[in-house]
Structures are given as C-alpha cells and as structure tokens.
Subunit: 376 residues, 2 copies
Amino acid sequence: MTDRIREFLKNRKDEGPCLVLDLDVVRDNYHAFAKALPDTRVFYAVKANPQPEILALLVKLGSSFDVASIGETHAVLAAGCAPDRISFGNTVKKESDIAAAFKLGVGMFAIDCEAEVEKVARAAPGSRVICRIHCDGTGSEWPLSRKFGCEPEFATDILELAHKSGLIAHGISFHVGSQQHNVEAWDRALASAAAVFRTCGERGIFLAMVNLGGGFPARYLRKTPKLESYGKAIFRSLRRHFGNRIPETIIEPGRGLVGNAGVIEAEVVLIAKRSPEEDLRWVYLDIGKFHGLAETIGESIRYPIRTGKDNAEKVPCIIAGPTCDSVDVLYEKTPYPLPVSLAIGDKVLIEATGAYTSTYSSVGFNGFPPLRSYII
Amino acid sequence: MTDRIREFLKNRKDEGPCLVLDLDVVRDNYHAFAKALPDTRVFYAVKANPQPEILALLVKLGSSFDVASIGETHAVLAAGCAPDRISFGNTVKKESDIAAAFKLGVGMFAIDCEAEVEKVARAAPGSRVICRIHCDGTGSEWPLSRKFGCEPEFATDILELAHKSGLIAHGISFHVGSQQHNVEAWDRALASAAAVFRTCGERGIFLAMVNLGGGFPARYLRKTPKLESYGKAIFRSLRRHFGNRIPETIIEPGRGLVGNAGVIEAEVVLIAKRSPEEDLRWVYLDIGKFHGLAETIGESIRYPIRTGKDNAEKVPCIIAGPTCDSVDVLYEKTPYPLPVSLAIGDKVLIEATGAYTSTYSSVGFNGFPPLRSYII
C-alpha cells in the first residue's frame, strides 16, 4: 500500500471493485532487480500485467520483454519497445504466430521439443532459440508441471536439430516455479544447464545464454527472502557450475516486478453464519475467483487483506466471491481472520494484487464486469 | 453436433478457436423441459450463456429467467423480457443492485439469511422472497458447497422475518448440484421444503412456490438419464411430500438448455512427448482453462472431443491449453484417448460446450483474446 494509492482511492468516484497499481513501486522493483543481479538483463513477463502504462514505463527504464503470444508482442511493440528486446518465451506456438512475430522483428524463441524447432526453422529462419529444460519446482508455492520443458538429457539433441536447421542454438531456459521461496532453487537447474552447455560444446555447438526464468516472489502474507539473497545464490551457482566461463544471463520476473505494486479495493456484500453451532462466518466480497482472484485456487496464495477495523478482535471467516458459482470461494480450508465488527458495505483492501489478477478476470461471468484497473 | 454447425464451420473464414451454438437445439431443449415437467415454469439460468440471441429466443418461447446480477437483469430486459418473468436468484446481492433491479420492475429475490432479508426489505419493499435451503448435492458431478443456502431448520425463522418486514414469503429454493445424475436427488430436498411449508403454515405464513433449481445434466462423455425420468421422479416426490397440496414449481436449467447446443472448434498447436520412456503424449490446443474450458477443473467434466481421424488407433494423451500457465492443463489425471495420427494443425471439435464456456473466458490472459462465439 502506498500513499499515492491511498490518496487515489479516497478520491475515487466509480463504483465496484478495482485494482490500483502504483508505477513508482514498479520502478523501484526494476531497480532492485538491476542491483541484485547487475550482470543480468531483465525480460518482464508481460502476462503478469500487460497494462500499456506498465509496459511504457519498463521500456523507458531499459527493460526487455518476455511475451507469451502474438497479442503480447503487439502490446509490447505498441509501448515503444524495439523488437530485438523481445523474447517469445512460450514453448507452445502456432506456426502462423511465429511467422507474424518474426515479420515484426522478433528473433528469439523458446522451444522444448523437435516439432517446435521445425516450426521455428520454417517460420523464423535464422532466429536464436532457447531450449527450455524441465525443473521440478521444489520450494515454489505453485510448482510447474511437466507441461513445459524437456528433460535435460534431450536438450542437446533438440538444440543440435535447431543448429542443423539453420537456427542459432543460443541457450537454455528453465523455470524454478512461481513464488519460489528457496534462494538455492536455481542451483540444480544451473547444474543441468551447464551440462547441456558442455555436451553441446562437444558437438561443436556453443551456447551463449542462460535464461534464469522467473519465480522471484512477491510478498504476500508469508515472508519472502530478500532479492539480494537470490542474486548472490544465483551468482554462486553460476560460478560453481560454469567456472570462469559464466554465460550471458537473463531473468523473466513478472510477479516480482508488479505483484506488490497493486492493491484491490473490494466491498463486503454479505456476512452470514451457515450454522449456529459454528463460529465460522461466511464473508462475501464483490470480487472472487472469476474476476481477478483466480490465484487463490488451492489457497496457495494468501493475500494480505486490510480493513478499516484491524485493531478489533478477529474471528475466523470463510471468504467467498459474489457469483452463483460454488467454486467461487477464496479461503475456506484455512479460514481467514477478519474483524468481528466487519460489516456489510465495508471496504477491504487486498494487497499485493498487481500480478495475475486483471487479466485472469473473466469477460463477464454471472453478469459482473471484468476487474477495472487504474494505473497511477 | 448438428448439420448447421458443421456447415457453418466449413464456411468459416476467421482464425482461432470459437464456440458455435445452434439455436434449434436450444428450442428443442426448451420444449423437452416443458414436456417433461408440464406444470413447472422454466427460468433459464442466464449465467450458463447470456448471448443476446439465446435470450431473445427464450423470451419468444415463453421462458422466464433466473439472473445472478444487475448486469444479467439488463441483458434479459434488453432481450424483450417483461420484468415479472425475472427472478433475482443470487443470494449474495449488493443493496444498490437490489434497488436497481426493483426499480426496473423485478419483484422476486432469493435470500438465505437475515441480513439479506433486511437488504431486500429496505431496497425492494413488498417483493416476494424465496428462501434457499442447503442441500448436500450427492450424485452431482459438481456438488455445491456450503456457500449458499441456510440449513432447512432456520428457513422458517428467516421467512418469518421477511413476512414481518413487509415482504411476501413466497417459497423455498434449493439446488441439488450441477450435472446431477441421480433423478431421485430432488426427493430429500423436497422433504425439507415440505417441512418448511408446514412450520411456516403453523405461524400463519403460507408459502406458494418451490424452486426446484437446476442440475439437469448435459450429455458429456458419461450417459445421462432422460429428462422424462427427472420429471417423473420429481412429480412422485412432490406427491409424496406435499400430498394433494402440490405447490407451484419452477426450474432453473442453464446447462440443460444450452450445454449440448454448442461446439468449440479448436486447433492442435503442438504434440510432444516429455520423456521417451512414457507413451503418453502431450497435446496442446489453442484453447484451455483460461479461454473457455474452466469447467475441466478437477477433470470432473469430460467433454467429448472429435477429430477427423477417430477411426484410427488411439493413444492416451494429456491435453493442455496454449498459455504459459502450468495450471492450464485440461485432462492429465485421467489421460484422454486421441488418434495416434493426430497432427499439429489438425482441428478438433469439443462437443457439448454451449454452457459455462464463453463467459468463463478471461479477458485476455497471456495475450490470447476471449473465446469468440457464433450463435446460429
């Protein structure tokens, strides 16, 4: 929460839930990454929050961009980014989208299997490709599945195919899992990456880059390690596995750049007890899983929620969204303590909601409009 | 799949995944409900698919409407519906939305706790209220949680408060759970409803209506009982619990009216094996959880998927969506058999996707546009 957001909300006239995001916080976060990892270029993961004002600020600060689609490519170019600062990081791409991005000047693509190499070779000849390897994501709040990345032992064959197909086998990428709390999580993946560098070298293919991915956490209720600790741990691992031939590195923070920059203001619509034996209250907000808070799935991310009554006694509450959908419940397995004096009509602030909220919002489920956002 | 949809897709020029919905099927479904439950009024659950053409057809056919929000109220009125054919069925409503609906002529509201009664009494004086009771949802593919509905033993107190507050205590509603396969599921809820009718009667409050809710299944891969069996079972239960004083009844089908009317056409973007030891393939489509197929959460709903190669040998596949989000996987716990000859670029048809798809779609997660729909 910043003074600028507090001031904005005080003067806001519109009705309904909204996200307010403070660009000053994004700027501070960008500088913090640059300081913690001074030799590493930042590629903002646009999917975290693609609002034009955020993209424009990051272009100005010198950031590069990780895009997931041709739609995001257009958005980043529209914000004034040069195409050579874009990495098309989705390993699942339509050939027509690869061709369209290539035509716009994009020259770096993620791949993780032979079929994807073939598509890139046809649609974006001569481009640089980064092979994504699988990483188990231990220590992350949202471990990644097997959906992306080949097993490290196949990366060399895949990169060799790229090389033989006229592409530039440029490097290795991995993702240690979103909201990663273990600063050492990069070590095992860097060991695998270094092994691929060696086996590629033996075949005369010289890789240049390691994409360290994202996973840098935003601070929710649980404490997170400082960014410097990540930077130091990663640098130690690079030294350990690459010796004095440390490759070029990039990172792809999304949540880490914008997560703590945003606050959602919502309203209490109803408070009810479902059974007189239980002390548990159901608190219904005007925002839920379908309008921005999708990341409460599995209750893994526990957003800080502030009310105007936080000094009052607190009671355990189940927090639910406003739709007629029974899945639209935010916190139930682990009830959330909220003030006993909380009342219908009270505003609540859901903090650290700058990432993965407004774009996850549905177009209009149950007739509620998508989450409105204000970038200040 | 209908000939009209097949013809439409053959001639379609646009790119990208889409939903095509055949209004003839909606019409047939409406008549099937009218036939199976001849004494019961149909209130279409707008949230299943609020496309204006669907609403306009149902207005013409004589349907009434169950709305979840003021947004859906506006949509139904815009389609030509008279406000006395609208039930505001969400038990979680802002007082300002109740007032807005009341001003538009809506006079029937769902409630399930005292706080909601107080809101309706202030914002929509003299309206009819229906008290939702909790039902355990056994037999449903998507059981409802405790989010909605009071325990039956409190319904009488809540309805008495409504009565004393100048509202018309009109009836009882419940929901047996979405995609309900057990035709007898209504029996226990009707027993509870009849008990509330009796205890209300003892206090001089005479209820008139039972809202039997939705839950009527659409046919996905699993066979569903015929609509007539539901109608007969419900009628038997009404006789059993209400004797010769059978109340007015309404139903709120959503999925049952539009589910099987729609087909999503998607494209195979990538096929990859993640490990050479496994036979399992990963098949990536250009549509996933964030762009219309949210109901694959938990893999409870298994849509029929047709390809142009269904006579070929089939192999188990994990089916995933196109986003960079590892949660965006449709079927993994129980792999889905797809043709061994399925190839990148092939079209697939995901059937029975007329309900809870287009509106669940995100506004643009990962830069992919919301699901496009065509109503024919």
